[in-house]
Each structure stands twice: as C-alpha cells, then as structure tokens.
Subunit: 101 residues, 2 copies
C-alpha cells in the first residue's frame, strides 16, 4: 500500500516543507530570525552581531524576505528588518504537524 506521503495530495506539503527547511537550515539565517525575536534591527546591527560581511548579510536577508519570513522598512539611511511572526508560526506549525503525522 502506498504511504500517505507518496500520494499526490501530500506532495505539495512535502515540497513546501522542504522549501521552508532549506531556508532556515542555514546557520546565519536561523540566527537572523533569532536576533529579530528581540526586536527590529537595521542591517548594520545584524551583520555586526553575526560577524558577517555586509553584502552577505544582505543576501541572507533577501532570502528570508523573499519567503516572507521577515519584512523591511527604510528609515533614513538605514533599513530595518522585522520578524514576520505569522509566517514563521504558520510554517513551523505545518512542519511539526507533518513530522508528528
């Protein structure tokens, strides 16, 4: 008998889960999410906390933003990033549901 996860209905879920997982399975990106838990931060704060170059930090921020895990707001010269709790919660929930299935 074909397991649930191999059925067409589940394929989409698996794909979504792995996309999310790939994004948060990078150490610096996971740290960024963690850092933003403490409140919004501008890029220069983030890359200094991560001890990472500015451009690389921007790159990781873009990946997170493209997946709607964070959002940004420009204030003068600085760009502040904010954690998108809803999106994060949504994905972690569906992931844990999936892992407990």
């Amino acid at each position: 008998m074909e397991p649930n996860c191999c059925k067409n209905k589940s394929k989409k879920n698996i794909k979504q889960a792995t996309e999310f997982l790939k994004i948060i399975s990078e150490e610096n990106r996971l740290k960024i999410l963690c850092i933003l838990r403490d409140g919004d931060k501008c890029v220069c704060e983030i890359w200094q906390l991560l001890n990472l170059s500015q451009n690389l930090t921007s790159h990781h921020l873009k990946v997170l933003k493209d997946f709607s895990l964070i959002s940004s707001k420009k204030e003068g010269l600085k760009v502040f990033y904010k954690l998108n709790n809803e999106t994060l919660a949504k994905h972690t929930e569906s992931l844990t549901k999936f892992l407990k299935l």
Copy 2:
C-alpha cells in the same frame, strides 16, 4: 545588547539545529522518514515508492542513518530500515523549542 542566540551558550544549539534541518530539508529524505512511519521497509520497497534509483536511495538512507534518524537490520538479502522515533522526537522538540524562543 547581544541577543541570546549570539551568545556562546546558544551557538551549539544553533549548529545542532541547522545540522538536523539540513538533513531533513531534502525532499526524498523527508519522504523516507514519512514512509517509515507506516512501518519498517526494505530498500527495494523504498526506492520504488520514491521512484528513485537504488544507489541514490542508499545514499540518502546512509545520511539519515549516520544521524541516527533511522536504523537498519539485515534479513537475508534484504536490509530493512526502521524509523528511530526517539531521535526524531528529540530533534523536532528542541527545534520547535528553539523556534518559539
């Protein structure tokens, strides 16, 4: 102020989390875990369900096994793989705890 996740105490947790995440962020590996939820399966069953080549399936099984997420038992010609529920639970728990932090 330095966020928790940037402190030395948390670094190990982040590393462990990302290691686990990298392993399960591959579609076929995630499917394997899912398939084994239904009960132990031999390799030939698994690669046929995944619609994947035998050697590639063996490779993914090895990755999962090296991380103790599954275990194997030889029976005649066949090798049966079994989900290691405890390890999986342990990692998912510490992950969700981390994401909710």
